[in-house]
Amino acid sequence: MAVRANPNLLKQLKRYGADDVTKCFHCGTCSATCPLSQEPFLFPRKSMRYLQMGLGDRLKGNLEPWLCYYCGDCSDQCPREAQPGETMMSMRRWLTAKYDFTGLSMLFYESRTAEVAAIIVVGILSGIGFYLLGALSGGDFGSYPGFIPGHNAEYLTELGWDVKSVVLVMAVFVLGLLGINVLRMWWFTTGSRKDLNVPFDIYMKHILLCPWHFFTQKRYSECDKKKPWVVHIILMLGFVALFAVFLAHMIWQDDTHAHTYLGPLAGVMLVGASSFALSGRLNKTEAHYKYSHHSDMNFLYMCLFVGLTGLAQHIAGRIGCGAFANFMYILHMMGAVPMLLIQLPFTKWAHLVYRPHAMYFAAIQADVIAGREGAKGASAVPHKQSA
């Protein structure tokens, strides 16, 4: 089937960071350089081609940008400086926007102001909310951790609120959004492709890939450069630790162990990794830090902010500066909530969902394709003999 070239796609992608893709003349050095590029997913060349020619539909159904972890080798090797690594990155941004049905993602990606404004608005709202929550529950701003809602559960219950249900509503909202978007991603890349026709058992066969890739980022470790993977996994584990602290706090009301040990550790990991990445991006130290979209910078600033405020809160609490600790706590939440409500479902952070799914779908597709080619090969054998 013929596909129509869309002359505006390139212009659009420029807003996502694909500035240099037109320089590419398809020598294929990038695909040859990339250690992750393997049959049947040979990238980044072909994706660059789709983009150059304005084949939006082809690009939308393309998993390849997600299979790239942006070590930057391709950009280093490119004879035309077409920045294939950055182009793949911008395609990931664009895909995130395409997967999102609300259109907010597109808005945030295409407009720095919109993203920043959304973060500020949500941040201020959540600052006010958490202050009110602490104040209304009778918390004393000078004592720590008394101002923190979980510690005054009785009062909230009296008000008819349940912090857990508030958190639950938020979680359902975010997960619901992401769930719908992942379903869209599945439909664009795999579900709508009649030529694949994936049987159910293949879906089941590879299902564990999702958590496996989520937690290990095994594929990232296969890049030739190992440092980015280390930084990334520290950042990721920092968030996982933070999430564990949060769960411990919410579910088991355990503030001693988790809070005392895991919390600061997570904070240090976050601050360390994000400040490393930030300084890399600001100084453009490595290929993958050379080009920064506002979504990248905003995300890192937020990470650093959340990490720093969390650490400060903890230290202030430990040394007995209750008011400062509570202030830091409010600030911490002013960072964390926008991250969860804006960056997780709509912008940079969404990749934590899409990427493991992309690995999963890619494995499914590869399996189907290999099976089909195997079958073809089998039928070809007797044919050959008769000839």
Binding site: A5, L10, T22, K23, F25, R49, Q52, M53
Partner: protein
Amino acid sequence: MTTECKIGVYVCSCGTNIGKMVDCDAVTGYTKNLPGVAVCKSYKYMCSNPGQEMIVKDIQRYGLDRVVVAACSPRMHEPTFRAAISHGGLNPYYLEMANIREQCSWVHDDHQQATDKAKALTCAAVKRVPFHEPFDMQSVPMNSASLVIGGGVAGLTAALELADANQPVYLVEKDGKLGGNLARIDLTSPYLDSAKDLLAERICRVTKNPKITVMLNSEVESISGYVGNFKAQIKSNGEAVTDIEIGSIIVCTGFREFDASKVGEYGYGRFPNVVTSFDLEKMLKEGRVVMKDGKTPKYVTIINCVGSRSGKYNRYCSRVCCMTALKYANGIKSAAPDAFITNLYTDMNAFGKGCEDFYRRSAERDTIFMMFDKHAPPTVSAAGKGEHFNMLVKVNEILSGEEVEIPADMVVLMVGMEAREDSMNVARLVNISRDKDGWFIESHPKLDPVATSTDGVFIAGACASPKDIPDTVAQARATTARILAKICQGEIWVEPVYAEINEDLCSGCRVCNELCPYSAIDYDPVKKRSAIISVMCKSCGGCVAGCPSGAIKARHFTDKQIFEQIEGVLEWASSRA
């Protein structure tokens, strides 16, 4: 021509190139016993200095009068060994080479058979060489005037170069004005300089230079004579005939564009907004790129290789179209900044100085490049109803494997270059050859690119093959360098290998007269004999084989020499049987 010849035979093993497949010692052992062989040696590299010195010394020590070198192709080292034996005091034509590398060791994989064949070839050379005759170079005077055919950029450059060296030039142009194809062009790629600026200065200097006789609306009627001594008749305005005498001729007749209407799928002539590169060039010169209805196009598709690199039309690459297409992409971008430009190509040839950079810059200006397979060219069709553009170009894009539809308001066909329709006449007029596409053939494609098989006739520019302006100008200047060198010498040395008619055997039957492609055979009606003008003869030997009386001898390729070779290659073979 004696059996008492003393032949030195030298078998080269060329490192391992020959030695690995051919048993050189066996060849030497066999050759040693052939009649007339005084000395036979094998050496690692005969062409090396020690190798050549060995021959030189042997000539003196053994009193050799003929030398056979069994080594590489004579096309490779015949000049080397001729010089060597000449250094040793022998006439250079007393050499014969046996090609046991390119036509033996490199192409066979059986040691025994390769060695046998090397023996046969060496035997043939040993049998031939006693019949070699000595020759000396011959000289003729040189007329310093030159005739330049064609007033394009090549002709103008060549004329100026010669006139600046104070030599008279006749510049003959068929058209009513100078400038040729370059005058049809707006800007040049890749630096986007104005073609007009390039030309105006040259035309002005040419018309003012007293050494240059410009003849417009003129054609060369006939040419006779030979290098250094040509006579030409120039017909001007269809009637007046001028006779001129010149020593050299430069042919720079240029090219014509491919007829785009031959390619049906592009719809040239069917769709008003499908235009050729020269049509667009006209628009660009007028400063307005518009569709037939006067509107500015929003979608422009440029199709490269129209008539070039195709199995159906011309197989060759026209070389300049890729960069010209980029020039258009830039030009249209400037005229219509919002236009969406697609360039469909088969292979982007950005070989020249500044060209790769130009390609890159054009890509950065958002020209979309799509590659198509030359066997499946794109098609142009009318757009469907309700579309906001008027044509749809369909292409099988091979870098993505997708069949893509591109909206188009205007389609530009990059028509290739073709040999001019009158190139056959020109070739006949000046006695040069054309290749299958009609381009004039150079003497050697790499080492002698502006000379031709006819001494004194040179070719420059796009009449020899598609060429860009820098190459054309470089060639034009190269021709003048060749000519000025000969003028400086004052006389011309000509190879002594030619055919000659034995007057005692010629009966004046005139069978040979029409056979000479160079009109080098002259018939004397009084003596009733034909004779060959040796400086005009190129030694093809067509008349020799055609002479029914056996009166014509091809120097260095006599019947006797070839008979000996035939016997040589077969003698050894029969001894095996």
